[in-house]
Amino acid sequence: MRRAWTIVRKDWAEIFKNRFVIFTVAFLPLLLTAIPLVILYITGSESELNGLKPDDLPPNLSRICEGLEGVACSQYFLVSQFLLLFMLMPLAIPITIASYSIIGEKTRRTLEPVLATPITTVELLAGKAAAAVIPAVLVTWLAFGVFLVGSALLAVGPRVFARLTDPLWLTAVLVVGPLLALAAVSVAVMVSSRSSDPRVAEQLSMLVILPLLALFFGQISGLVLLNQQLILWMALALGLIDAGLVTFAVQLFERETILTRWK
């Protein structure tokens, strides 16, 4: 596995010179951290929401709000919608990195010399995957940290803050995030082994965000309610899905096919 790490370091040296990659890695987290903070700030100073009681809210909302009232409730409600959007980061970043790093090797024909070294397929793919997953997870965690600090500073009461750091959110960011990143990178590896245009591969792989968006709109419309239990089920399901995707991606990456058909 020492060779996997060699791949990771080489990939980083290379891909962080790519403007598209930098843009995705930097812009998306910035946006997804800034929006909820802005919302918190605006709702915090908005007085007409102050009088709200749980009973005035639709039943779904009052369930989310358990124990919170007025501004706190509406703040938490709005921000919790962003929890799901926050998960876009660990999905989109690895897809971008992996698409560029794998298809880059393909189009510049650098893969053949690599495959001619004693590296195993698993080492190669582990390296490629780690090179994409690690930055994505770190950036997500960093963005979440910034979001927490920002929300503490921006008029969120201690009770809302406590809810933002409860096991639901922590599981989402610390467990579901990396699992999503792994799923995304496996899909990107599979698509990249068939396509030879990084942007096409990126867009195709981005289809993996569809379930996430479904969940997002489900929650907004009140059909689904994200809670501790659901997050745990998601984590479990993702763990299984990841295992399947990784196995499949490794099998699909047939050295010979990739060498002779990747043109």
Binding site: R3, A116, R255
Partner: protein, 314 residues
């Protein structure tokens, strides 16, 4: 060092390599010659464990293909058809990356050694995107050598280089041979193969001929002597043709082109007879066929429909 037994490779309907039998001795510099699409790159890829043969077997550096290809790859070096360098990384970084993948222990020392040997040391920290084609090729050669392989496969090492760069690469390859490495080289440059290789194989899906360049020449064309005369009369040609050991005689301008099997012992009798017949001899010389003539002849024999008509102009 390389033993190939009945190796074949098919891609769907296309047969790229058919029933190849070949042995390359340790320390030998072997030239693999063939037209575009002959299957040379495919053969190299099989022998370096990059793709698997459809049938047949082979041993390279003591390792059987397919048995433990990771170990096999550790033992061989390959210059791939395309240099395949990371453009945004420096030459040094490119080599260090591959040295790590090959498990080289003294990475820095090895990288420096080959950068210096190939004259790239001064530009080691520039991204390879700024390199000329020749420099890229040299860097790719350096990459193939970092782990000091005993067996080296070079796929068209001088193609696309200017004469000076090609010369440099050629001298370098000769140096590698002198270090005792076994070298398998694919080339279109027949002149290069002639000068460099101990033996050559002419190949077009199948192996058409296999021998040293000199032996191939003799085998295909015999030996040819040219008699330059001040004036050529028909009687001279008849005089020469009368000798039983003369295989053929042809008149070209004022020259007689004669195919013999042993000119050293046969020439004196011919010269004496020609002088006696009144011929005035200016020069007598042996016609050296180029390997290109041999090559074109072999290819046209193997596939008369497609190859260029081969010429034997004296």
């Amino acid at each position: 060092m390389i033993r190939i037994e009945g190796l074949s490779k098919r891609f769907g309907q296309t047969v790229a390599v058919e029933d190849l039998w070949l042995e390359v001795a340790p320390g030998e510099l072997f030239g693999f010659l063939g037209p575009n699409g002959a299957g040379k790159t495919t053969t190299i890829r099989m022998l370096t464990g990059l793709i698997s043969p459809s049938s047949g077997q082979a041993w390279v550096a003591g390792h059987q293909l397919g048995a433990d290809d990771t170990e096999l790859r550790r033992r061989v070096g390959i210059l791939t058809e395309a240099p395949g360098l990371y453009d945004t990384l420096s030459a040094e970084r490119n080599l260090a990356f591959f040295a790590e993948l090959y498990g080289v222990i003294e990475i820095e020392a090895q990288v420096e050694r080959y950068l210096r040997l190939l004259g790239l040391w001064n530009r080691r920290s520039e991204p390879t995107a700024t390199y000329s084609r020749g420099m890229r090729q040299k860097l790719a050669i350096a990459r193939a050598l970092l782990h000091e392989p005993q067996v080296l496969f070079l796929d068209e090492p001088t193609t696309g280089l200017d004469p000076e760069a090609a010369r440099l690469v050629r001298d370098f390859i000769e140096g590698l041979k002198n270090e005792g490495r076994t070298i398998f080289i694919c080339t279109h440059n027949l002149d290069e193969a002639d000068r460099l290789c101990d033996r050559v194989g002419v190949f077009n899906t199948r192996l058409l001929a296999l021998d040293s360049p000199g032996a191939l020449r003799r085998q295909i064309f015999g030996r040819t002597v040219v008699f330059h005369l001040t004036e050529l009369l028909p009687v001279y040609q008849e005089t020469v043709a009368a000798f039983p050991f003369v295989k053929s005689v042809e008149a070209v301008d004022s020259k007689l082109v004669v195919r013999l099997s042993d000119p050293e012992s046969e020439n004196p009798a011919l010269i004496t007879a020609l002088v006696a017949a009144g011929a005035q001899l200016q020069f007598v010389g042996e016609l050296r066929r180029s390997l290109e003539d041999v090559y074109l002849r072999l290819l046209s024999q193997a596939d008369p429909g497609t190859s260029r008509p081969e010429e034997a102009k004296p």
